[in-house]
């Protein structure tokens, strides 16, 4: 039973380790990377155009800042949880998008709304910024949409990308946490003859995460499977 629990925990950790491994590599060329900054909720992260699983994702059918409606997606749980605290934004809070070739664009939060997951987001809504994440926390049944109005644009003086990625060691920390946690569990497990299996499982799962850290693989299928399992159990 404990081994099943450990396996499930390590699958969640696998998703996170894969994300942190990617984000460490993605920020290697910060001069060309756009950034989203929301001081109120501590967001200062690069924007990518590959996948929402890699952090903050720019919807390719929307427009770059000042050219039309900009739509950014971000995870609320796992994948670094960049939009974990998005619901804490209040009208008037400033949101900055630093986009190489365009400038440092300031938006002001005006409103928030919640829609079903099936909602189709129109991409022609003026010079507005929309930040979209899942709602409620720990569920993907609905979407939280934050609308922000364009305010000003300034030249980029000091690209944010020059700041060292604060998440660079998170992947390694998660691997260490699994290893240490597994070892402690094996140590305190009261049945001596079963401890060896917990130690072996800890070692195997740790090696799996180490492999995923150095050779990140897409975790879409794994996440989809976990989501389906959650829905089956009605979580």
């Amino acid at each position: 039973m404990i081994l099943v629990g450990m396996l499930i925990i390590s699958l969640y950790l696998l998703i996170e380790v894969g994300y942190y491994s990617y984000s460490t590599n993605a920020d290697s060329n910060p001069q060309d990377t756009p950034y989203l900054k929301i001081p109120k909720i501590g967001v200062n992260q690069s924007i990518n155009n590959q996948s929402v699983d890699h952090g903050i994702y720019f919807e390719p059918q929307s427009f770059k800042p000042t050219n039309g409606t900009t739509i950014l997606f971000g995870h609320r749980t796992l994948h670094g949880s960049p939009f974990l605290k998005l619901d804490q934004l209040k009208p008037g809070d400033k949101i900055y998008v630093e986009w190489p070739g365009i400038g440092n664009v300031t938006y002001s939060m005006v409103n928030s709304t919640i829609v079903d997951a099936s909602y189709q987001m129109p991409v022609e809504q003026g010079n507005n910024l929309f930040l979209i994440t899942c709602y409620p926390l720990g569920s993907n049944a609905q979407r939280l949409i934050i609308q922000a109005e364009y305010e000003t644009i300034m030249p980029i003086n000091q690209p944010s990308g020059s700041v060292e990625n604060p998440q660079i060691s998170m992947g390694i920390m998660l691997i260490c946490a699994l290893f240490v946690g597994g070892m402690i569990l094996g140590r305190v497990y009261p049945v001596a003859e079963d401890r060896i299996w917990i130690f072996i499982a800890t070692l195997v799962l740790t090696l799996l995460l180490v492999f995923a850290y150095f050779y990140p693989v897409p975790t879409d299928a794994l996440e989809s499977w976990l989501s389906q399992l959650n829905h089956m159990l009605e979580f």
């Binding site: 099943v4 749980t77 909602y119 129109p122």
Partner: protein, 318 residues
């Protein structure tokens, strides 16, 4: 490990989770069963019946913006209701007339209230998500005839020496009731701004609490003028706009309040008072699906519980 005992622990674990789920479900069902427009108070307060209120309301209007989706594969219609059966004094009904609509509404073939100008509504095509806005004004009671919302459950006074003065009552309704009336329609968002005028008809100054006469449930108060406070003792999941007023004889005061449904993420009011509704996903507008941006972590919690239960089982039962 002993498979039988392991299964027993798992069954016990799921039983506990099942009980929690059942209790939560019952709470939700109980909340849903509360009748809209009713006056049951969850705050444990006793309302004392009184004679005619000194302060009465007129010029009641509602400007409503809503986005609704037709989930069916053929056209559906929805229309504006003229009648509000809140707990008006003497069980009267508030009758509304339609001032304007945007986009232009059509006259329906089956009017419920032909005496109030006929019914106006909109077609919503298969799969279409439509945003409409309209304004209605009360006619008769609460229009040009002063009235107020009474508490149907108020009791005769048998208390002494002091009793609470609860002020004017509110009534409430469910913005998404349309989904129950026609399950093919899915209300995406709702925002309404209400205005009314309160007048002191006594020959002396009066003080007390007045509340918004019509309040949507499960909605956030996003703005008010004058600044209202939220009374959440009136009905379950209802944030009633209330004002502490001092009104001189024959003096009138205007009030405005705006609600948005559903309640925003953290349950606190947001917005600038304007009714922002996600733009309509019309057929000629480019739209994008919203990404999967969250992974349910109920399974993760279960995994932690499984590890803890396994540890406990090995220590105490094995």
């Amino acid at each position: 490990m002993n498979l039988g005992k392991s299964l027993m622990i798992l069954v016990l674990l799921f039983s506990i989770l099942g009980v929690f789920t059942f209790v939560n479900s019952m709470a939700v069902v109980s909340a849903q069963n509360e009748s809209p427009g009713g006056t049951d108070s969850p705050g444990g307060q006793t309302w004392i019946a009184y004679n005619a209120s000194n302060v009465r309301m007129t010029a009641l209007t509602a400007t409503i913006t809503l986005t609704i989706k037709n989930n069916k594969d053929y056209v559906q219609y929805f229309k504006i209701s003229h009648l509000y059966t809140g707990s008006l004094q003497e069980n009267q009904t508030i009758k509304f007339i339609v001032d304007w609509t945007d986009p232009v509404a059509e006259r329906m073939i089956d009017p419920v209230s032909p005496e109030l100008g006929g019914d106006y509504g909109w077609a919503i095509q298969a799969g279409e998500t439509k945003t409409v806005k309209f304004k209605v004004s009360a006619t008769g009671l609460m229009g040009n005839e002063p009235s107020w919302i009474a508490d149907a459950g108020a009791v005769d006074n048998t208390f002494w020496p002091i009793i609470p003065d609860m002020g004017l009552q509110a009534s409430w309704f469910m913005p998404n009731e349309i989904e129950m009336l026609n399950p093919n329609l899915d209300l995406k968002s709702w925002c309404g701004t209400f205005t009314f005028t309160a007048t002191n008809f006594a020959s002396y100054p009066v003080a007390g609490l007045i509340r918004g006469p019509i309040i949507p449930t499960d909605s956030a108060l996003t703005s008010s003028d004058p600044q209202a406070f939220v009374d959440n003792d009136i009905a379950f999941n209802t944030n009633v706009a209330a004002w502490d007023v001092h009104i001189d004889p024959q003096e009138s005061q205007g009030f405005t309040y705006t609600y948005k449904w559903p309640i925003v993420a953290n349950g606190t009011p947001t917005g600038n008072g304007q009714c922002f509704v996600p733009a309509t996903a019309a057929n000629n507008t480019t739209t994008v699906p919203t990404q999967e941006t969250g992974s349910p972590y109920g399974l993760l919690v279960l995994a932690v519980l499984i590890v803890a239960a396994g540890l406990g089982y090995a220590k105490f039962l094995r």
